[in-house]
């Protein structure tokens, strides 16, 4: 059941709330062994107590449980980034989005699995082991917010927070037939989001549909004095506006833009299924145009250069003994201590990215790689913004079906290539969504829509209308 329905049932009704939370924990009991969506699950009694209190205090979110990706700081709840180096780290503060959700009456049910430090596209680089796709447990759920997508698609939580640096929310949403939303850069405060690549990172939402995202967004968005990169997007009334769209009520018709280069290298049956969804939209009054942006081919390398460079810097902090591994620094030189902690604490993929990033930022290469990547980023923005003012760029969210466990992770280049569709919005700071579009071999396939920066409200309204036309949102996977 989506959040907006659950809230109607539990609001002011303690019995219904208790029943709902019990049912959630029953599902966790039954499914979590196989799916491994969570790293930390809070005790049912604690969640229940907080939920009942929020409900009695008539908070707008009425005690609804929310799952949170394990790279978003939660005061008093272990936050590991799926890394050994933070295995025992309990943040002394709440991320801004968490503080806002809590004060609106949401309750954190647990912390979800992810690729270590969000570095990966399959949730397989987690120190705690991979999550599995509810639609086929032999396959990955995508990543890096794989756990969040798993728990939402299998009803272990009604909604989840993820983070999206190059597709980490949209990718697992596409692979689990859920709605994934990456806001315009700055719409959700990054304060408390453990950084991977600061200029690309955005907190995002994985929900059952666009309406739920609108509902939660209203309680999370807004400028944050703790995050100088945050922006002020006014979102009040968004939920109400979305509610009046679709389901036999009004329909929007927007213009969709097909960028040819974004369909190159897409698995044929995936492309066909997404195109089928777009055809249905066009027969419901959506218009579309085709265009070519050759520079899109540079997006992936530029993305990885920027992401690795920033990651190598952001992860430099893990080494001082205030968190991290239990290694006694006494009688150890600093350099030995740092080496020991970092060699033992970081996984392979993280080390690979730190090393590449350090190389990129080192004297002599900084200009050759980093500065050049920033130029690509500017060119892409200049090319794409005029197009995004005309319409929404539509593409498959993922170029391939969800890989089997172990299939993609062995070859880093293949792993990185999975992000080809999703990195563009992060590079230009634009909002983007994944909308369930269909199935290929009984596996979910997603449609990605990219909007102009700060057009998040319109994008969500269109998403609501698209969901309504395609009509497969809120489907239940077979493991459920």
């Amino acid at each position: 059941m989506p959040v907006h329905d659950v809230i109607e049932i539990i609001r002011g009704d303690r019995r219904a709330l208790e029943e709902y939370i019990y049912s959630i924990y029953d599902r966790i009991e039954r499914l979590e062994k196989t799916l491994r969506g969570f790293i930390t699950i809070r005790k049912r009694e604690d969640v229940l107590e907080e939920a009942v209190r929020a409900n009695m205090e008539e908070k707008p979110l009425a005690g609804i449980p929310i799952a949170v990706k394990d790279n978003i700081s939660t005061m008093g709840i272990r936050t590991t980034c799926a890394s050994a180096i933070l295995e025992n780290y309990v943040p002394p503060y709440d991320a801004t989005v968490i503080a806002r959700l809590r004060s609106a009456g949401a309750v954190i049910i647990g912390k979800t699995n992810m690729d270590e430090f969000a570095m990966g596209s399959t949730t397989e680089t987690s120190h705690f082991g991979p999550s599995r796709n509810p639609w086929d447990p032999d396959r990955v759920p995508g990543g890096s917010s794989g756990g969040s997508a798993v728990v939402v698609s299998s009803y272990m939580a009604p909604a989840a927070l993820g983070s999206d640096t190059g597709g980490s929310v949209r990718n697992p949403a596409a692979y689990t037939a859920t709605f994934g939303y990456k806001p315009t850069y700055g719409v959700l405060s990054r304060y408390g989001l453990i950084a991977y690549a600061s200029s690309l990172d955005q907190i995002g939402l994985i929900t059952r549909d666009a309406l739920d995202t609108a509902l939660l967004l209203e309680h999370m968005a807004g400028e944050d004095p703790m995050d100088p990169t945050s922006v002020d997007l006014k979102v009040s009334g968004l939920y109400r506006r979305l509610r009046d769209i679709g389901a036999g009520r009004s329909h929007l018709s927007a213009r969709l833009v097909i960028v040819r280069e974004m369909w190159e290298g897409v698995e044929e049956n995936v492309a066909r299924e997404v195109m089928r969804a777009i055809d249905r939209l066009s027969s419901s009054g959506y218009t579309f145009e085709e265009t070519s942006i050759p520079e899109i081919r540079y997006a992936l390398p530029a993305y990885y250069i920027i992401a690795f460079a920033e990651a190598s810097s952001n992860l430099a902090r893990y080494g001082i003994p205030i968190y991290g591994l239990k290694i006694n620094p006494e009688n150890m030189g600093w350099e030995d201590y740092y080496s020991e902690v970092r060699s033992r604490g970081f996984g392979r993929e993280v080390k690979r990215r730190i090393m590449l990033g350090s190389y990129i930022l080192s004297a002599g290469y900084y200009e050759q790689y980093y500065i050049k990547a920033l130029k690509v980023r500017r060119v892409l923005r200049d090319r794409l913004l005029p197009i995004l003012r005309r319409g929404y760029i539509a593409s498959p969210t993922m170029p391939i079906k969800p890989p089997r466990l172990g299939e993609a992770i062995e070859d880093p280049l293949r792993l990185y290539a999975m992000d080809i569709e999703t990195v563009v919005p992060n590079l230009i700071g634009a909002p983007a969504v994944n909308i369930p579009a269909g199935f290929v071999d009984s596996l979910p396939v997603g449609l990605q829509l990219i909007g102009a920066p700060m057009s998040d409200q319109d994008l969500l309204e269109v998403s609501r209308s698209v969901e309504d036309i395609i009509g497969i949102s809120n489907t239940t996977p077979k493991t459920g």
Partner: protein, 480 residues
Amino acid sequence: MDRGVMIGLEIHLQVNTVKTKMFCRCSSDYRSALPNTNICPVCLGLPGSLPVPNKAVIRKAIMLAIALGSRVVDRIVFVRKHYFYPDLPKGYQISQHRGPGMAPIAVGGGLEIEGEGEPRIIRIRRLGIEEDPARITYPYGDPLKSPYSLIDYNRSGVPLIEVVTEPDIRSSREARVFLDKLLTLADHLGITNPDLEGAFRVDVNISLENQERVEVKNIGSIRDIEKAINYEIARQRGIVAGGGKIKRETRHWDPLRGATFVSRHKEYEEEYRYFPDPDLPPIAVSAEVVKEIEDGMPELPWHMAERYVREYSLSRYAARVLVSRRALAELFERTVKIYGDPDKVADLLINDFLGVVNSRGGNFQLVRATPESIAKLLSLMDKGVISIKIAKMILKRVVIGGEDPEEIVAREGLLVISSDKELEELAEKVIRENPKAVEDARRNPKAINYLVGQVMKLTRGRADPQKISEIIRRKIGLER
């Protein structure tokens, strides 16, 4: 002065006049607080925390740039400077740098110093803002002898302004004159209170003609800087004279042994992996803002000195001494307003007041004297109520103790004894009790001073020695 010597300074001025840290709102007082009490997720570099720049520090840095005639950038970019050291909780220091996509807050400018002979301009290369690292304490002094080190993060994030000169300085004396002038400027602009421990630290670059340069890091007092420069010049000369070459290296100054030593820590020069901090969007500085800051600037010390010469007809020397500290200049001007006679005020402040302050390490924080109390002291002397001797005696109590001179005099009966009768009685007593000294005085008129001294002692300094001398001469028949 030596033409073959080139010295450049990197001065880190602590902005200890601003109450909060550079990138968070923690108190920047690390001197009196218990270790690790003024800390938060930001200055501890906890995962997910984000820096928020302190605008007050930026304004002060712009002020200093204007005073030095430097060119202020139109976009302030903060960069990350990476190195692993436990005093750096993020693994990088937020700083400023010159390079592609990066620029310090100001470049160019200079400061004129009175050299030996013609005044010379020491050119400024750049001026930047950065954060102070945490403070490390080694329990056995030496890091190699200590099994552990203690880190106080109260200092982490304290704002610093870095001023880098061109290698225009030729001698230790010039270095001192330059630093004195810069510190005076920082004091007047309300940037750095030089009385506080750790108010500034200097890295000194010294090279001989056609030789590599040697950097002596982290010297905290002007005396030590002078000594280190002299030591290095002699050391390097010795090597060159012996046919050797100077190695490019980093050394540190050991004040106890009075020598520089090669630093044990490896220097990762040029490998700081500088890049613009993606958490801090560039801050635009418009010409209007610079103008507004300039208009709000206090009078510069060298302008103030010129005005003293002009308005108060003081000597250049007196004017320069009075403006050497803002507190002293203020005391001077306010005392003149009450008392008049700038010459007398200047004389008292320079000769007597400063003597007291300098006997306490030149620390103006200990000064409790007010313009009123200084003015009263001067009037008491003018009216002949107290003698100069008494004035000097009670000066310390007025300056450091903050006592009111009129009250001291009234309470302790220090008024000048002007009654001749009383003085004559005392003189007679002394003559009676010192027949041998009287004999001496009759033979040798200079020996009379002993008798005068004895009378003065009886009056506890409350009389005019000249007058006593006259009385005694008369009484023992030297004069009529």
